[in-house]
Symmetry: C2
Subunit: 711 residues, 2 copies
Amino acid sequence: MEYWALATGGAALVGLVVAFLYAKMVTREAPGDEKMQSIAGAIREGAMAFIRREYQVLAVFVLIVFALIAIFIWHKPVDVVEGKRIIGESTYTGIYTAIAYVLGAICSMTAGFVGMNIATKASVRTTHGAEEGGIGRALTIAFRGGAVMGLTVAGLGLLGLSVVYLIFVKWWQVVATPAGQASIITGFSLGASSVALFARVGGGIYTKAADVGADLVGKVEAGIPEDDPRNPAVIADNVGDNVGDVAGMGADLYESYVGSIVAPIALAATVFALSGSPDGVTRGMLLPMLIAGVGIVASVIATLFVRSKEGSHPARALNMGSYGAALLTTIGTLFVVLFWLRDVEAVKHPIGFWISIVAGLAAGLAIGWISEIYTSDRFRPVKEIAQSSQTGAATTILSGFSEGMESTAGAIILLVGAIAGAYLAGNWAMPDVANSGIYGIALAAIGMLSTTGMTVSVDAYGPIADNAGGISEMSGRPPEVRRITDSLDALGNTTAAIAKGFAIASAGVTALALFKAYTAAVGIDVIDLARWQTVVGLFLGGMFPFLFSSMAIKAVGRAAYNMIEEVRRQFREIPGLREGKEGARAEYARCVDISTRAALKRMIPPASIAVVSPVVIGLWDVQALAGYLAGALVVGFLMAIFMANAGGAWDNAKKYIEAGNLGGKGTPTHAAAVVGDTVGDPFKDTAGPCMNIMIKVMSVIALVFAPLFIR
Amino acid sequence: MEYWALATGGAALVGLVVAFLYAKMVTREAPGDEKMQSIAGAIREGAMAFIRREYQVLAVFVLIVFALIAIFIWHKPVDVVEGKRIIGESTYTGIYTAIAYVLGAICSMTAGFVGMNIATKASVRTTHGAEEGGIGRALTIAFRGGAVMGLTVAGLGLLGLSVVYLIFVKWWQVVATPAGQASIITGFSLGASSVALFARVGGGIYTKAADVGADLVGKVEAGIPEDDPRNPAVIADNVGDNVGDVAGMGADLYESYVGSIVAPIALAATVFALSGSPDGVTRGMLLPMLIAGVGIVASVIATLFVRSKEGSHPARALNMGSYGAALLTTIGTLFVVLFWLRDVEAVKHPIGFWISIVAGLAAGLAIGWISEIYTSDRFRPVKEIAQSSQTGAATTILSGFSEGMESTAGAIILLVGAIAGAYLAGNWAMPDVANSGIYGIALAAIGMLSTTGMTVSVDAYGPIADNAGGISEMSGRPPEVRRITDSLDALGNTTAAIAKGFAIASAGVTALALFKAYTAAVGIDVIDLARWQTVVGLFLGGMFPFLFSSMAIKAVGRAAYNMIEEVRRQFREIPGLREGKEGARAEYARCVDISTRAALKRMIPPASIAVVSPVVIGLWDVQALAGYLAGALVVGFLMAIFMANAGGAWDNAKKYIEAGNLGGKGTPTHAAAVVGDTVGDPFKDTAGPCMNIMIKVMSVIALVFAPLFIR
């Protein structure tokens, strides 16, 4: 039975092998002339230097948490509780959870490293490809570069889980009970989450400090265009795209992916205990991994659909990939669910669980569409923001602010619709079994994320195209090269918004499942919202996303300020730099260093509070912790949607005006829109994307340390 | 026993009589020359016209809700539930609740009408007083004008409650059970809340549409100073101060005050049922009214402390009033609690309830201090926002945004501290009785608001001084008159921030008590946060404050846009207006009309959703409604604090620069700060102050319609 985990591991390996092949294809492309290579080399060097230093900090953090898990949850016997009855005892052994935790962290870091490594190589080759072969060639190279990241993320995620399952559960059989097994696997998820949190916060601070700093002093003060080599912050800005939008985003989706697989595994331990079939629990625990396996194979096949024909819009090619993967997964999971659960007695209608999966997939897509409606200039909100820029920056901000807040309504309604649908379908699949509906909700999250391989591929392609544009500008390629990369980049804004929609929607659903797994783990029947401790937890949890966002935005503001000071200093002290005289060379490395140091220093406080606070509150009161998680979940979800959509809308309102509408560039209307864009930058790329990781880190920490809270 | 309600009614009458005397004193002052009177007359006329039209809309709404309550809760027998045991039956009669509802609404409207009537008279007399008698004279007149509002609000609130109690409970004895009695009294609270919601939303849209419109086109485009009579929107702007900051704020605090008294009354019905003393329930229900009576008498006495000595800072005089009232109430309530509860058997330590009251009072003051730290230019946040204006409007916005979000942390920690303290003290006062801690929490809210008479007096004085400044400017008084009113007005910004702190802190605590009263009313033991319906409710409730804020801010934006168009038209079409030529007269009335129509039209959708949505969700699932209320409470509280403090900080950062710091007026730094101020305006004066009312309207609606949800 358990050997089916070999099959999921096999699917994961397929993903990794294809990623390797794509990496080979990318590196085999011509990297352009010497100037391009030297610029690309500087970006690559900065990005790799940052990630190395970030991982050093992370290694210390991971070791500390490893020790804490190993020590505090060491050999603690845990009652396995179902309702109020004790149905078994597990000699739950923290050391295995701790090992799984380290494995999860290492896999996440490896995926980030590999993906970014290839991305930095792909961007210069995309520039060259655009010059030599036009848009089709450039799209192919950029997408393959992104696919390396995408398939590595999904492949390493599922492979790691399969290995952990096979070693600890099947071969060593270190714990007797399903609950104990689930705990070990949760450790792997915690590893992924904590790396992701630091990578997103650190990468987000890095990229926006460089971007805001470069823009404010370059475009606004010195009046030189974006990506101009005279701007000392320009290399840091391009490094930022890699560490934030490639590595940070990859770690984020890796975390979401692993979390969405682990949540139903953790639930299966209790839900399938009453399934009436001897191998019911194993089937319940392996089902999520099988679904993920189907998703990887579907994603691999769908990457072949992404081919740009001459003259067709590149969006068409990417959509073919995304929808292709979703369709293949939908069909594949139907067979898997029907086959896999056919003999489990309590599962009366296996197709109910498939409906749960599809409900998740549909909600993920629909939330992505809402993002598109609010952030694309084809629809009302962006046009209204652009129009309100005609009465100045204040109305631009107010308009974007209210559109962003409004956009949460649609997202929340879709989310609760998916929750309700997945619950009812899960409950129908397995009637008379407690929490079968919650298992359905957890499957909805996998439904959303099963095609992560494809989602990340499409998303990572954006910053590669963006970087390709920067390299083209800095190396003085002809303007049509830039025009090609710009058109690819603009498309990337929308794909990024859709990927964020998936990440946050899945976080909302996954956290809910983890929430239920937590209550089971601490052995409480209900979380009573009428108890004052729960309410106190709810208030504190609701406050935390505000505090976290405040810290992240402040970090960007301060780092950007340092960057501005440094750029001003270089313009002042390096003769001829501002005028672009021959021989006057900006000191790029100093700007890179400012971003690096700021990011590493300022990522620690918010991330640490997210990790430590649930433990502190859990030690006080287990229901207060439940309230805390619920508060953070709701407010974090709202802030994530609000910030992503407001930020994206401001960005595209500016682009809409730059495209020549309402007077175009250089008008006061454009200046007002630039203010909106700058405000939106840390919203959508620093604070916003951290929300979903923060929500899950907190939930998973609660789940892992649950044995500590039971007295 | 019940005749003690006569005593509370008496205390309320004392407040009203003193309000009448202050009104006489104000109207007896000289109103200045003809030009001043004509300007003041125009403002007064606009304000009164608006409030009449607003009340017409409100009357329709109140009649509809009256009918709904009377019909749907008509003679519905309600089991009185304690835990899971039914301990009695009440032939709860909706018609009385409906009548109490209308009474509550009428009292609220009367208080708003009287207060604003006197405020519009006081402002022109303050101008004249400043010219003739200096700052001391001006302060006295403005404060007395405010005190009319303050004492009318508190007096009519308590008098109305006393009358409802005496008539329905004591004399007619229309319902047999305490739960039924509590329901009738809750109806009065709902009347107050629904009027307040419309008054705050409508007034907020009015005032900011006029303010933002006048500023953007006057100061920014035409380059004429604030309150210049050439600006056609200037009268509308001054009308706005009255309908928003006087009438809206008064209705808001009236609602908070009544709500904080009603919540413990509603709880007392169940908590004191097990008190072991025959008159325990009556004592538990009357205690909140007695505390309020002490607060009114204390406020009346404290108004006598507000005397400006020559040369002393006017802040000192106002602080004497505020702290004096708080101190007198603290002492007075100690005796009342000890005397009143001395014979109730289950109350082992009456002083515990007094500690609950003081915990509330202290937390209210402390949350006010936090507001001061984040919004006063003497502290770091405002200085940092001013500094970040040096790098442009985008950094101003980001900086204010993150300071505002950060400020929620302190407020939440104080709030949960007060909740915990009040709960534990209440529980200690009445050990072994379920929910005695929650009763303690409810008393904490009264602790905060017992001195409402004084809080509103101090708050209403601000817009009176602001209007006095406007009249001085428009009527061409010497600049020192304006300097006096400006110094009084600046002080008003801080007192307004403190009053908002009280309003929102009390809302947080009151809503919690109402929440518990709701669970008792629908007869559920626990609200299980692990049920999916509750989570769905939580998500929807959390989303609503975002949607509400979005609607309110959009309403301001659109109305301001219409205002700008109209002002531009007048400048274009009325010859000589912009240059200020003799005989060129702006058409003020058209601008007043734009604000009026926009406010009346756009206040309806958000307010209606707040009223209707709890009923819809409650009909679906009673626990989902509990989740909905909890979500709205947490997010509404956060948004209220965030918006009030970010808005206040931006405003004062601009004032800090205008005072000559960082280059002063006319610099790009100042221009950036003006953007911040304009963004902050609808935050702090439209959307933000609605949050606390919205929270309570929803809770009270749930409580009133609870009988409908039980199947």
